[in-house]
Structures are given as C-alpha cells and as structure tokens.
C-alpha cells in the first residue's frame, strides 16, 4: 500500500508511505480533510546581496567566486541584475515611504521581508530527501515521528478520546553555511475552499477576518504579496468552507497567513527565524540567536562564546470540525487546553495515617 494510518476512537490520520508526509485527517463525526503538512523556508531579505561586488566572479557558472557566495546567493544576484530599474523600485519600494529608500530594508527582528517579494518558500526537506519515519501505535497514544533533517524533527500525536492532532516540532540549529538567512514555516495545505479568506485571533480574543491583498479600512497597494499578507497569531488561525473548518492553535505568538500553492485552504505559521543582517530598526544586530557555549562557571558565562544556533520546540494543535457547530466550540476548547495545561507535581509515595491525621 502507498499509505499507512494511525487512528484512535475519534480520528484517523493517513500518511504517504513514500514521502512520510501527512495527507488526510478524518474524524469519526464525518469531517474529512485532505491535509498536506510540510516545512518550508523563505530566505530573509539581505540588501548586501543586491549590490555585492562580485569582482571577476561569474554568477552563472560560479567560477572565480568567493566560496561564501553559495549558488543560492549567486542565483539571486543574477535575478536582481535582470530587473529593470522600475521593476527594482516596485519590488522594493518601502510601504511606509513609497520610495526607493525601501530597497535596502532588510528582514530582521522588526521586519519580515523575503528576498523576493513574491518568493515561493523552499521545501526544507529538499525535495529529494525523504524523512526517516517512526510509527508508534498504542491504545492511549499514537504518534508518527518524522526526522526531516538533523536540525528539523516533528512528532504528530493523537490521544485516545480526542480528535485533536498535535504537531510537536523541534527546530535548530538552522544552517546558515550558505550565507543566507532563513525563515522557517510549517504549512498545512488542505482542500478547504477558503478562496483566500482566513481568520486570526485578535490578541487571543475575537477572530478577525483576513482577506488576501486586502485591508478593510484603506485601499491597499500591494508591494509585498507575502509579508504583506502575514498577521500576528496569538492563539489560533483557521480556514473554513461550508463543509469543514480547519483550525490551528499555537502555543505562542507566531506570524501566520494563508498563501500556499493556490491561496485557498492553506495555513502557514512561521516557527523559527535565523537572519544574518540587521534590519536597521534599532536593535543593531541580526536576529541570529546562538547558544552560549561553556565554560559555564557557577552558572555565569565566564569566557563564553557564541555556539550554534538555538533550538526551539513547540506545538501546533489541529482542530477539524464542522462549521455547522456553534461557533468555534472545539477550537475554543482546544485553546483553553493549550493555554492552561494541567500542571503536575511529583512527591515520594505518601500514605495518609488516619490515626495521626498526617501523611
């Protein structure tokens, strides 16, 4: 068979046996969605790539080029050279000033700007490679562990009695040997017919409707078709049509949008960023968090130095429900569980002694 599944009393997940990717989620209450989940990355805008002096290096062949200019950097440089001045202006005009000064705006802590305004994110799993997949099927918990790359893993988990699907991702240290900053997203392409409309929470409260390339209170001129369609997601983002609603709950604030291949039925959440240049908005250093490497002396960094990029772990919870139910009932319940987990405390075994009334 080209597929394998894990299931519990509420939901069945179907995976492609050859790619190891999730392809379908079906609940016993009859809601069924094609869901293709994967990790992709945008390359962060770096004005240094625009006017870098290549000397006698030939971008087309890479001959005579300094080794730090990776093929990706050179290809981008070649693309920039091909633009007419007007195209260069349109692509880079800064939304705030509407003039060429935006051309040097880098991506960074304050700004999300992909290297090309309409960039299609690249597949982290580098199309050729296929993840190592480990499947555990239990009566209380079933999970599929996907080892995409040495720095990107994910565990997709379902629990008995619940139709929710947890995606626990572990990302880092994001590689930057190719001289390019990367902005990693987790993208869920579904068959929901949402026609470019999606909903994000507003500071964890009521949901706002979002439409691609549109603002409700002014006529938007689109300079950045990708980042201009990103919104803050503090608790949940969802797409829906008359048959189903796919919600994704986040365990922290993330950038999110609905772009995908067809702009319909897709949800993407930015989970990690590692950039190589500052965005000139006051921080004065790139968003390139690295781990302090010992020697830790008594908890203090004594002679520490920067090590590899940080690693982070988080969870997205998918709620698949019929839109006919009272508004967002499952999504709200999921958010409650996500933000108020049951804490646990550990003690040695204790027995209560009624005679003395003590443990």
């Amino acid at each position: 068979a080209d597929e394998f599944t894990i299931k519990n009393d509420k939901v069945t997940l179907t995976f492609n046996e050859n790619t190891g990717k999730l392809t379908r989620v079906s609940t016993v209450s009859g809601v069924d969605a094609a869901v293709n989940q994967g990790f992709y990355y945008y390359t962060g805008f770096d004005s240094g790539l625009v006017d870098m002096d290549l000397g006698d290096c030939d971008p087309a062949t890479g001959k005579g080029c300094p080794k730090q200019y990776s093929a990706e950097v050179l290809a981008h440089h070649k693309w920039m050279q091909s633009l007419t001045p007007q195209q260069m202006h349109n692509d880079m005009a800064d939304r705030h000033h509407g003039d060429a000064s935006g051309s040097s705006q880098n991506s960074g802590a304050y700004i999300f700007r992909p290297q090309e305004a309409s960039q299609k994110p690249k597949d982290v799993a580098f199309a050729g490679s296929i993840p190592e997949v480990i499947v555990h099927e239990g009566f209380l918990v079933s999970e599929v562990v996907q080892h995409w790359t040495p720095w990107l893993n994910q565990t997709i988990r379902i629990y008995s009695g619940s139709a929710d699907v947890d995606f626990e991702w572990t990302i880092g240290s994001i590689p930057i040997e190719d001289g390019v900053g990367k902005e990693i997203i987790s993208r869920f392409d579904t068959d929901v017919v949402s026609s470019g409309v999606f909903y994000t929470d507003s500071n964890g409260r009521e949901f706002q409707q979002r439409k691609q390339n549109y603002r409700p209170t002014w006529d938007l001129r689109v300079y950045q078709p990708v980042s201009g369609n990103y919104y803050p997601v503090n608790s949940a983002v969802y797409v829906e049509d008359t048959n189903k609603r796919v919600s994704l709950l986040t365990d922290r604030s993330q950038g999110g949008s609905s772009l995908g291949k067809t702009g319909s039925g897709s949800i993407e959440l930015m989970v990690a960023r590692r950039l190589l240049v500052d965005d000139s908005r006051g921080v004065g250093e790139p968003l390139n968090e690295t781990v302090w490497v010992s020697p830790y002396v008594g908890g203090e960094c004594d002679g520490c130095r920067y090590g590899p990029g940080i690693t982070s772990r988080g969870t997205h919870r998918m709620v698949l429900e019929s839109p006919k139910k009272d508004g967002l009932s499952a999504t709200r319940a999921g958010a409650e569980a996500m933000f108020s987990p049951m804490e646990f405390f550990v003690t040695e075994h204790t027995e209560y002694d009624a005679a003395t009334g003590s443990w």
């Binding site: 804490e343 550990v346 204790t350």
Partner: protein, 196 residues
C-alpha cells in the same frame, strides 16, 4: 509585600511587558536578560508554590514537592531519582471547570502502572519511547539527562482549581501491552521498506 517571594517574579513579569520581551525585538543579551529574570523570579517563588501545594493537598510541610519545568524536553529529575521506588503525581487543574486531559510525565523505565489514589483503581496508561532525547543536540545547560520514556495517562475529572493524586508504581510484568507496535519506516529512495 515589597520583599515577598513573589516580588522578583512580579518585577520580571512587569518588565517583560515591553514589546522587546514579547516579540524578541532586542539584542540577544537583552533577550537572555529577560529570560534570566523570569527564571530567577520563578525560582524564588517556587518555595511558595510548594507550600501552597502542601497545604491544598493536605500533605503538610514534611513531604517534599517537586516541579518539572523542563518536562517538554523530557527532563524531570525527580522521576529519575524515584524511578525504582515509584512516586506520586498531583495533577492540578487551573480552570474553573472540571477537566479530563492527558498528562505526560518523563520517566526512565518502560513499565509503570498508574493508580488513582482516591479509588485505588488502575488508570489507563501507556509508556512511549522518546524518539528525540537529545533535542537535535541542544539540551539546556546544566539540565539533568533527558528521560528515554514518556508516561502518558488520562487525568479524569480533575475538579476546578483542584488536584487529583495518582500513584505511579513500577510494574514487574506486562499485565497489558504498554506499547503496542512501533515500526520504523525506513524510507529509502523512492521505495519504502516496512519492518515490524
């Protein structure tokens, strides 16, 4: 009061209202400073949390209570130290309505039984192998080694703002299959080999 155990946490939390702390728009050492103040505030408040748990559960001051703030990366020193003797787990529900939810406890053995302390009944539980113990090679400094197993069990009907106590005991025999089938799909090239 101004020098109470919560003071440091209150100050760190109020400082972290700045957008730099919320969204990371700061230099790395500033971000780490926010994290250090929150961690120090948490540590200074911890004895008060312990006292609260002892009082609310009726345990009294003679029973040590431990938290596992790094449970999400499978680090929980107390369950390592108590691995062979077994231990108790008090689950706390912070919401204002009764709740049933899965609890995940990092453990270092594959065979445990979970008993509901109130009824003595065995609670459905499952131990699953931790497939990513090393967090891509980036475990927090100074943390104890990550556990290789995670104990899942369902905490049923935990009352609003309430606790429920579970007793975790090592089970010598496999009364019921703790882990059903774990198969590794080694997807090589286009083809797939499935090994049981």
């Amino acid at each position: 009061g101004s020098d109470g155990p919560l003071r440091a946490l209150e100050e760190a939390s109020s400082l972290a209202q700045h957008h730099d702390a919320v969204s990371g728009t700061s230099k790395q050492h500033v971000a780490e400073d926010y994290a250090m103040r929150l961690a120090r505030g948490h540590a200074l408040a911890s004895p008060m949390v312990t006292e609260a748990v002892q009082i609310l559960t009726g345990l009294g001051p003679e029973v040590d209570v431990f938290e596992c703030p790094l449970a999400n990366v499978s680090v929980c020193a107390p369950t390592t130290a108590l691995a062979d003797k077994g231990f108790d787990v008090f689950v706390y529900n912070p919401l204002a309505q009764s709740r049933t939810s899965m609890v995940q406890v990092p453990v270092s053995h594959a065979t445990y039984k979970v008993l509901d302390a109130a009824t003595g009944d065995e609670v459905p539980a499952e131990v699953v192998r931790n497939q990513m113990p090393d967090m891509n090679g980036a475990l927090p400094h100074g943390a104890s080694a990550p556990q290789l197993w995670t104990l899942f069990f369902q905490a049923q009907h935990v009352g609003p703002l309430g606790f429920r106590k579970y007793t975790i005991v090592k089970s010598t025999t496999q009364e019921t299959p703790r882990t059903m089938t774990t198969r590794k799909l080694k997807t090589v090239g286009g083809g797939v080999r499935r090994r049981m």
